[in-house]
């Protein structure tokens, strides 16, 4: 019977079906970090359990870590205690930890792929909703809560009901200045933040095929922002080229066997999806968000919509009040004080190259604070090796050390109340970047141009 890509991987991981339609579902790789794991380790201990497969877990410290002076003890006592707890737990339970100071440390969803831990056909989980990122490799990857972290630790399995399958096809050539981030912001603006709730989404079509792995990760990363359990892209030559030679990717004969298997991972031609959507990628423009959820996105040069009543009106008004915007107005010309380039959405080497290429020989506007937080130590080292650090420094951008940083402001990297920040991260929720902070989500290119201009502009006028 014809199967979707999702079905092929799902079916291969069913340990058994149990009464009521639930599945005992096997997890190949488990990523953990300091915020959502301590209670899980404690629960294991309280129940007298241990890790079933410690070798299938990889840990890093990312959410809480400072992005300056990582060689020194963490100043915030609560953050330090959480990171210390991770170190203790990993030592006690025998888990590989890429902690602060390690050459592989970084945002959990950046290091998995760059180390070749993420591979096609696997199942991966992490106590973090942006685990969907790994779906870019043709991997069933999704975020879980701490109780589920405990379950995977104890049994290497989860008890799940099978999500529905959706395919979104994006065909057409991208316009100048349009990037993977714009594609996903566009899709979320069309579906809304709950539009894919209950689904696993496969992204297909020529516009997706044409993306680099970094771009594909950006798209899959924000699947959760339309409510999807995860996103998936069928692996192809781009995927295999990216993985070849990575630290934990298969080597030698194993590589050939792996690729032969990975090449079977695609949706059969007559496979049936529970929902299918098509978009014309050539019509998509550079995007930005104006509100307080990622579904409130518009083309940068368009006006904020005007809503006529409905159950959404209260939330919409509350959102615009928070942002200090009016229905129907244009965002062009709005002064911006902060630009944040980073997060598991857009902190990879390609993102840093995009920013550096634009700002080379230019200066950020005097009133803008522009920080770039690389996704990992490896991204940071690569940027330095390519001389991007100097280009960025000369343009007035500050290149920090790796971590989640101002995406969720658990560390000191906060945007002040009332200030506007153009951010390459994934959520513009109220207070996400600090209490009262006003976040506008956009691509690294839009962020770079905004930093230089000091205000929102129609970027299509600024491209070579």
């Amino acid at each position: 019977m014809a199967k979707t890509l999702f079905d092929k991987i799902w079916d291969a991981h069913v340990v058994r079906e149990v009464a009521g339609g639930l599945t005992v579902f096997y997890i190949d790789r488990h990523l953990i970090h300091e915020v959502t794991s301590p209670q899980a380790f404690d629960e294991l201990t309280a129940r007298g359990l241990t890790l079933r497969r410690p070798g299938q877990i990889v840990a890093t410290a990312d959410h809480n870590v400072p992005t300056r002076h990582q060689d020194q003890p963490i100043q915030d006592p609560l953050s330090r205690s959480q990171v210390d707890k991770l170190t203790e737990n990993c030592a006690r339970f025998g888990v590989e930890l890429y902690g602060l100071g390690h050459q592989y440390q970084g945002i959990v969803h950046v290091i998995g792929p760059e180390l070749g831990i993420t591979q096609p056909g696997l199942t991966m989980v992490c106590g973090d909703s942006h685990t969907s990122t790994h779906g870019a490799f043709g991997t069933i990857a999704f975020g879980i809560g701490t109780s589920q972290v405990t379950q995977v630790m104890a049994s290497q399995c989860l008890l799940l009901d099978k999500p529905k399958r959706m395919r979104i096809t994006l065909d057409g050539a991208l316009r100048p200045g349009v990037t993977a981030k714009d594609l996903i912001l566009y899709m979320i603006s069309q579906l809304g933040t709950g539009g894919a709730t209950g689904y696993f989404v496969e992204y297909a079509g020529s516009a997706i095929r044409g993306l680099s792995m970094e771009g594909r990760m950006t798209v899959c990363n924000m699947s959760i922002e339309m409510g999807a359990r995860g996103g998936l892209i069928a692996p192809d030559a781009t995927t295999f080229d990216y993985l070849a030679g990575r630290r934990f990717a298969p080597q030698g004969e194993n590589w050939d066997r792996a690729v032969a298997y990975w090449q079977t991972l695609y949706s059969d031609e007559d496979a049936v999806f529970d929902a299918e959507l098509q978009f014309d990628a050539s019509a998509i423009q550079p995007m930005i968000t104006y509100g307080t959820n990622p579904g409130m996105g518009i083309p940068l040069a368009a006006n904020i919509p005007v809503l006529n009543g409905g159950s959404e009106a209260t939330s919409f008004d509350k959102s615009l009040r928070y942002m200090g915007f009016q229905p129907g107005e244009s965002l062009l010309g709005k002064e911006i004080n902060y630009v944040f380039i980073g997060s598991c959405t857009n902190s990879r080497i390609e993102d840093l190259r995009t920013v550096a290429a634009y700002v080379r020989g230019k200066q950020k506007a005097a009133h803008v604070e522009a920080i770039i937080v690389p996704g990992s130590k490896q991204v940071e080292q690569q940027a330095i090796a390519e001389g991007l650090d100097k280009v960025l420094a000369e343009a007035g951008f500050e290149l920090r050390e790796p971590g989640c940083s101002a995406c969720l402001a658990m560390n000191d990297d906060k945007i002040p109340a009332g200030a506007y920040c153009v951010s390459t991260s994934n959520r513009n929720f109220e207070g996400r970047q600090g209490p009262g902070a006003r976040t506008l989500l956009a691509s690294p290119l839009v962020a770079a141009i905004t930093a230089v201009e000091g205000r929102l502009v129609d970027i299509t006028q600024y491209l070579n």
């Binding site: 009521g20 959410h63 915030d76 909703s129 975020g143 109780s147 379950q151 399995c157 709950g194």
Partner: protein, 199 residues
């Protein structure tokens, strides 16, 4: 996990859609390493001013709704982050049921694993419930988990709600998934021995 069987309680109305987990419990409060104590920071940025004073216009600070254990919220409740701390915060603050017209997937699972019932009602029922509470802030609803019904004062028929039968048994008996998964040891080991996709 505590058992959940029936609950009769007043309601706290929060007619906002897409309430995300960053509102339920902002990230800066996630630094604790235990499960307890998140309730005092539930909806922290909507509930308190920057200097920690209660905002009088937020519903959790409204004397009429104190002690109510059912949260009534707009559609797509719990979207965003996977932080189970959101469910812990609601539970710790005394909530046992959240009623909405739909829930984000991860939040729903986290709530069920915490002993907090995510009760999904139709949009029409949800709007009807908001109207009931607007008229009488003390209106008490009855949730009967065994019967899967929500009883509303002056409504002639109880509202039926759906719930996975396994999850229902777990809530009623206070069980969680770990015991069940561990009991599957033999099947999991057999499965691991025939894995062919790990290279």
């Amino acid at each position: 996990m505590e058992k959940f069987q029936t609950l009769r309680s007043g309601v706290v109305p929060l007619p906002i859609e897409n309430v995300d987990t960053d509102q339920i419990i902002p990230a800066r409060f996630l630094k604790a390493t235990t499960r307890e104590g998140f309730g005092s920071n539930l909806f922290a940025d909507w509930r308190y001013t920057a200097d920690g004073q209660p905002k009088p216009d937020f519903v959790l600070n409204d004397a009429r709704y104190q002690g109510h254990q059912i949260l009534l919220a707009g559609k797509n409740f719990g979207c965003g982050s996977s932080r189970e701390h959101a469910a812990w915060a609601l539970y710790d603050a005394g909530f046992r049921v959240v009623v909405s017209s739909y829930f984000a997937d991860i939040f729903r699972g986290n709530a069920l694993n915490t002993g907090l019932l995510p009760l999904q009602a139709s949009d029409e029922v949800l709007q009807g419930l908001f109207a009931v509470v607007a008229q009488d802030p003390q209106a008490a609803l009855t949730v009967d988990l065994q019967a899967q019904t929500l009883t509303v004062p002056d409504w002639t028929e109880a509202i039926h709600f759906e719930l996975d039968p396994y999850k229902k048994e777990c809530l009623i008996n206070g069980y969680d998934d770990i015991d069940f998964l561990i009991s599957q040891e033999a099947a999991i080991t057999a499965f691991e021995q025939q894995q062919s996709w790990v290279f």
